[in-house]
């Protein structure tokens, strides 16, 4: 896959605030790319720079090799789906979808055909004559999607496309979004602050914090190999154990040596381990840590156990998969032994 969209060292300031701080990233042809980060980290601003609404203070934006930094928003082969959808309230769903094509000079039968197609694609054909205020949130979202897709942009930018929907509709629309992206082959750049959504949908994710990219990776990499505490904490659940690395082994004060990967420079560090990778046993046989069950919660299938460990400020959280021999037997106060494979832990220096 070749590179389609290139953001090079883009900076955008609003007075004293640097909303986007020297960001570089690449989106490939036909890719589903997610921009993930907490509220106020600059996601919308970055998207607006790409769409052409905010001229960057520094850096370039390139599309298919050409520099589009100076190109006006209405000339960029890029479309933005607004966080609030921004449907034209005085036009029907059909009128909204037709608008962008009319701007290209498409008319008559061709116009009708393409609008009908786009509405069919998002399963909104029967609502073509409705105005936005006669549509539900999910239906508006689909019309907004059709309105952007009908232009066949090179890149479709989506700002929190599912943010306004309730959980159930959200999960259903995630599948729809993915299907649309695969059917059209258009590169999607989706902004979200929902890490689960990013992990489910994206081919690659750029994780942002305070205007900077923390990590740019596949969902798997981001989950397994976070580069710092922020990334480890933002994506999924994570246990952190503070300690030091000395001669390539990780030591936690008051506990001793813990299983960890090799090759980390000496100094203070934190060990991070995912709850589902923590093994829980009721016998010592060579385990690293001993603890006491503080509580266990049943989560539909899995069991989440909180294990208090002497000398650790917070309990270690373990996730026991369905069918685990202990999953139905854990009781409060019970002694358990914890362990994990060295290569499944991550040592974080910052």
């Amino acid at each position: 896959m070749s590179v389609l969209l290139q953001i090079e060292n883009v900076t955008k300031r609003f007075g004293p605030i640097t909303a986007v701080d020297h960001i570089s990233l690449e989106v490939k042809d036909g890719e589903f790319f997610a921009i993930l980060g907490p509220s106020g980290c600059g996601k919308t601003t970055l998207l607006r720079v790409i769409a052409g609404f905010e001229p960057p203070d520094e850096g370039r934006v390139r599309l298919a090799g050409g520099d589009i930094t100076e190109l006006k928003a209405n000339r960029r082969p890029v479309n933005l789906m607004f966080q609030s959808y921004a449907l034209f309230p005085h036009m029907t769903a059909f009128g909204n979808v037709a608008y962008g094509l009319e701007m290209e000079g498409v008319q008559g039968a061709e116009l009708k055909k393409r609008v009908d197609q786009a509405l069919a694609m998002v399963r909104m054909s029967e609502f073509a004559a409705r105005k936005p205020n006669q549509l539900s949130g999910g239906q508006r979202q689909r019309v907004a999607l059709a309105r952007a897709l009908v232009k066949r942009p090179k890149v479709l930018l989506l700002d929190e496309p599912l943010g306004a929907l309730d959980r159930k509709l959200r999960e259903q629309m995630q599948i729809e979004l993915k299907r649309l992206q695969q059917d059209t082959g258009i590169a999607f750049v989706v902004v979200t602050h929902d890490q689960e959504e990013a992990l489910t949908l994206a081919d690659r994710i750029a994780l942002l914090d305070r205007g900077r990219i923390v990590q740019q990776a596949t969902p798997r990499e981001l989950y397994d190999k976070p580069v710092n505490r922020f990334a480890a904490d933002f994506i999924g659940l994570m246990n952190f154990i503070e300690g030091t690395v000395a001669r390539s082994t990780f030591q936690a004060p008051g506990i001793g040596r813990l299983p960890a990967p090799n090759g980390i420079a000496d100094g203070p560090a934190a060990l991070a381990i995912r709850p589902e990778r923590v093994q829980v046993r009721d016998a010592a046989d060579g385990a690293a840590i001993q603890g006491q069950v503080e509580g266990a919660a049943f989560l539909g299938q899995d069991v989440i156990a909180h294990v208090a460990v002497a000398n650790l400020p917070r309990p270690i959280v373990a996730r026991l998969a369905a069918g685990h021999p202990l999953s139905e037997k854990l009781t409060r106060g019970q002694q358990v032994w914890l362990n994990w494979q060295a290569d499944q832990a991550v040592i974080l220096k910052d």
Partner: protein, 291 residues
Amino acid sequence: MARRTILMAPGLGYLALLLIVPCLIIFAYSLFERGTYGGIVYDPTLENYQRAASSLFARIFLDSVRIAATATIVALLVGYPAAYAIAQQPRNRQMALLVLVMLPFWSNYLIRTYAWIVLLNNQGLINRTLQGAGVIEQPLPLLYNEFAIVLGLVYNYVPFVILALYSSISRLGPELREASFDLGGSAWTTFRRVTLPLTVPGIAAGAVFVFVLSIGNFVTPDLLGGGQRPMLGNLIYSQYLSARDWPMGSALGFILVVIMLALLFGQAILSARASGEGEARIVPQPARVAA
């Protein structure tokens, strides 16, 4: 429901006492004859309305409509760009600008109108400046004509137009315009197809305001028009106070009230229809779930 009625009672009482009752009185007067020395002879007749349709009155009526309509259009053309520009400013500056727009109202209507006479007359500031600069030989006829009336009306009512349009435009926010740009629309297309249609309620409110106040105005036609072009307001005024023909004045007044009500009604329908579009109201319906 009961509480709503109670809350509306003072407003409704005010309207009934000061608007509906006087209108009914006017209507009643208009159906009687005038006495020889003024006063009213209580003989029911439709003669006043027949006279109102006569060519003399009809001409003044048409003149008034034309002048009021011209003032309305000019006020909209002047007010829209101003309101649009104010709505694009940072929030705190918007308030300051709106206060400036309303500033003339802190002085008396008559004084402001006389100020225009000082500016516009043959020896006035404008004519003397232009003559001094050698642009014109003879003074321009700026005062005591229809131009002066329209100018005076526009000057007086433009601030209201700006307020009405400002509230309509600023409610719109930048997103819909950006969506239009994003879809490839030019600035002009965006204005024509998005901003303008969505600010129709503001335009209608401003237009009705200027038109209704202009057509009934009698001070500006008198002072700036020099009585050359009496308008409906002057006519009513003179029927009551000079001709002492109260029934005729009442008939003309009632016609004016009916016109105003019709315009306000039309405007209310327009803005009610538009407000349904502006707000994100959801019509309840079963959510369609994709198979």
